[in-house]
């Protein structure tokens, strides 16, 4: 009898956890004005959280409601489920940071048929599945800049590797294409790209991939990580293994996460745009589309709050895009003033 009693107590404790969770969910139920949703690649990514923060700021500035969602795994399957739930809620617009360039097309077509405005930001969906794409910076400029940075760090000759996010992430893949394009310049004859590894934007996998890169290529001199999760993981590995000065890390990183490694020399310098602004610009783009100020065609202009005026331009993949601006360089001179911002 006492055993049964103990079990009943355990059940009660679990129920005590469940009830607040459900109540918490019920508390989230309030509706005002238009509802604009932002779907990021996965949870637990500080870069994504900053984008969501910016999106929320933009939407709430105009007195609307922001819905922020992300699956727990960076997969297209999970994003499809979230999009279906958003369609059922009949939101006014959805902005998605795609885990897969093509896989979301069927569900986005359903959303568009239901009269919902769909755009993508940061990582694009294909032109058929978006009104327009909010791009951080010109992909060509990002790709070429990163190779030039690596060239500069290794002194013009040596082995380099790339540590990317998922193999299907459209933004990273486009940058890598431009990196490879830049490497065809005769100037880089002594630079060899030995491997492209994929850390899937997961910390543990990125650490493991970095360690594997170091093991299989003992002459490696520089790792380019065009993802905030990857660059922090790679810098951590370099720091922990006392390889500072032997292997350099560069790429795209969040100043708040990277300040330590920029100051200790693991990463001499890196680049990024402001992810808060990406989300903020996406919010204004979506609201302008919902209000029918713009349709997403090239040549149209709209106002994006504190960021000023933007123009929609043709994108390389045949769709249209809005460019936030050039990437910004972070080095030991300016990192301390930025590390508290984002």
């Amino acid at each position: 009898m006492r055993k049964v009693f103990a079990k009943v107590i355990i059940l009660t404790v679990i129920a005590a956890f469940l009830v607040p969770a459900v109540l918490f969910a019920a508390g989230a139920r309030e509706e005002v004005g238009e509802r604009h949703a932002f779907v990021f690649k996965n949870t637990g990514n500080p870069y994504g959280e900053k984008q969501m923060e910016g999106f929320k700021e933009g939407v709430e500035e105009m007195g609307h409601q922001a819905i922020l969602r992300a699956p727990d795994q960076p997969t297209a399957e999970d994003q499809i489920q979230i999009l279906e739930q958003l369609i059922a809620q009949n939101v006014d617009s959805i902005c998605v940071t795609a885990n897969d360039y093509d896989a979301l097309e069927p569900v986005i077509r359903n959303a568009m048929n239901a009269g919902i405005v769909v755009t993508s930001a940061d990582s694009a969906t294909n032109p058929a599945s978006r009104a327009t794409f909010v791009n951080q910076a010109d992909a060509e400029m990002i790709g070429r800049t990163l190779i030039q940075a690596a060239y500069d760090m290794i002194g013009g000759a040596g082995d380099i590797a790339i540590l990317s996010a998922t193999s299907t992430a459209s933004n990273q893949n486009l940058w890598i294409e431009w990196m490879q394009e830049e490497l065809t310049d005769p100037k880089y004859d002594d630079v060899e790209l030995v491997e492209i590894a994929y850390g899937d934007d997961l910390r543990d996998k990125s650490v493991a991939e970095t360690e594997a890169l170091l093991r299989s290529h003992p002459d490696l001199e520089c790792i380019i990580a065009p993802t905030t999760v990857g660059i922090a993981a790679a810098s951590r590995v370099i720091t922990d293994n006392d390889l500072i000065g032997e292997v350099y890390i560069t790429g795209l990183g969040l100043p708040s996460e990277m300040a330590e490694y920029i100051n200790n020399g693991a990463c001499p310098y890196m680049f990024l745009w402001n992810p808060i602004d990406v989300g903020y610009l996406a919010a204004y783009t979506n609201m302008a589309l919902v209000n029918e100020e713009i349709t997403g065609a090239a040549g149209e202009t709209f106002e994006a709050g504190r960021l000023g005026s933007y123009e929609i331009v043709e994108a390389d993949d045949g769709g249209t895009e809005v460019l936030l601006g050039p990437p910004f360089r972070f080095d030991p001179d300016n990192i301390d003033e930025w590390k508290d911002v984002y």
């Binding site: 055993k3 049964v4 079990k7 009943v8 355990i10 059940l11 679990i14 129920a15 956890f17 469940l18 969770a21 459900v22 918490f24 969910a25 019920a26 989230a28 139920r29 949870t43 819905i67 922020l68 969602r69 992300a70 699956p71 727990d72 795994q73 997969t75 297209a76 399957e77 999970d78 499809i80 489920q81 979230i82 279906e84 739930q85 059922a88 809620q89 009949n90 897969d100 360039y101 093509d102 896989a103 097309e105 069927p106 998922t166 193999s167 299907t168 492209i196 994929y198 899937d200």
Partner: protein
């Protein structure tokens, strides 16, 4: 072991009928709809019930054979990788010029072959545990998928192929119809055939079955083959929904599937459970996550809630069995029963 058998035979009276785990699941199922419609004004409409199952039924195809596997006292954790491998082979073959209908058949064949391989090893090396064998093949199948496609995605399927994942016959999605047909077939196989009785028998006592002339090896192989085949079917539907595939699709499906089967009241020590339980569990977890998604609950909180539901239900099941055990057999204590396993 003999006591267990007696328990099973006596469970035919009316009191036991209403005291079944499945009734509790029905109550949970209804409760979830009540809570969901209270939480979100967008929940209670026809569209929810007609269209939503499409988004979670893909893995449910594997739940059917997995019920057999677990009733037999085995486990199969390679199903997620089997889905990935079948899907990747199908996409690669199609892109290499194979007509789509043949590529679909190839997908099912690859799935079946993966299952068959598991089954043959399990049957020929009964001293190895099924968990170890399938953990090995899990990494193997996923590895082969990565070798074939590396880190790329493959897609570009013909337009008609999207009918599998998105199309409807009348208002009912094709996927729901396909699942209903499979569920009925597997239900009949488990509860209305001697093959099904043997599956239960093996869950109770494999050796006794063997000595009574049951070809246990053959049954293991057939069940594994069916598991692989259904993983292939899952691959067909999943790939159709996504329009493209990668080697890392269906990651973690094995655990979701096993969780559904266990929530459905199938005992992991074998011999207990009905097909109806896991079926209800599929819809319970599916509608629960859909409903909580409608109120935009975060992914982590959702995982916590599903985890809590799972552990609670398993514990309730445990308490219930303790009680029925005492009622039926006052002489045997819970401790003794445990040592009998």
């Amino acid at each position: 072991m003999a006591e267990k058998q007696i328990l099973l035979d006596k469970s035919r009276n009316w009191k036991e009928f209403f005291f079944q785990w499945e009734w509790l699941l029905v109550i949970i199922f209804l409760l979830i709809h009540v809570v969901n419609s209270f939480l979100s004004p967008y929940y209670l409409n026809l569209n929810t019930f007609i269209r939503t199952p499409q988004s979670f039924l893909d893995k449910a195809f594997i739940v059917l054979p997995m019920t057999f596997v677990i009733i037999m006292g085995n486990i199969d954790v390679s199903v997620g990788s089997t889905v990935a491998l079948s899907s990747v082979v199908m996409a690669t073959a199609y892109n290499a010029g194979l007509p789509m209908p043949l590529a679909l058949i190839l997908c099912l064949a690859v799935g079946s072959a993966c299952g068959l391989f598991n089954g043959v090893i399990m049957a020929k090396f009964p001293e190895l545990s099924a968990a170890i064998i399938t953990i090995a093949t899990m990494t193997m199948y996923r590895g082969i998928a990565y070798v074939i496609l590396e880190n790329r995605a493959a897609g570009g399927f013909p337009e008609w192929y999207s009918f599998f994942g998105w199309g409807s016959v009348g208002r009912v999605p094709f996927m729901v119809i396909a699942f209903a047909v499979c569920a009925v077939l597997f239900g009949l196989l488990l509860h209305r055939t001697s093959f099904g009785r043997c599956v239960y028998g093996m869950g109770h006592n494999k050796r006794a079955c063997l000595y009574s002339g049951v070809k246990t090896g053959k049954i293991i192989i057939i069940v594994s083959l069916l598991t692989g085949l259904m993983a292939g079917i899952t691959a067909v539907f999943l790939t159709s929904r996504m329009g493209s595939t990668r080697p890392n699709v269906a990651l973690g499906y094995e655990l979701q599937v096993i969780a559904m089967v266990v929530l459905g009241g199938v005992s992991t020590s074998g011999g207990k459970g009905k097909i109806f339980g896991p079926l209800l569990a599929v819809f319970i977890i599916g509608f629960l996550s859909y409903g909580l998604g409608l109120v935009n609950i975060s992914a982590q909180v959702l995982l916590i809630i599903i985890g809590a539901l799972l552990i609670t239900s398993v514990m309730v099941l445990n308490i219930r069995f303790d009680r029925s055990n005492k009622q039926m057999m006052p002489s045997s204590s819970g401790k003794k029963r445990a040592s009998n396993k």
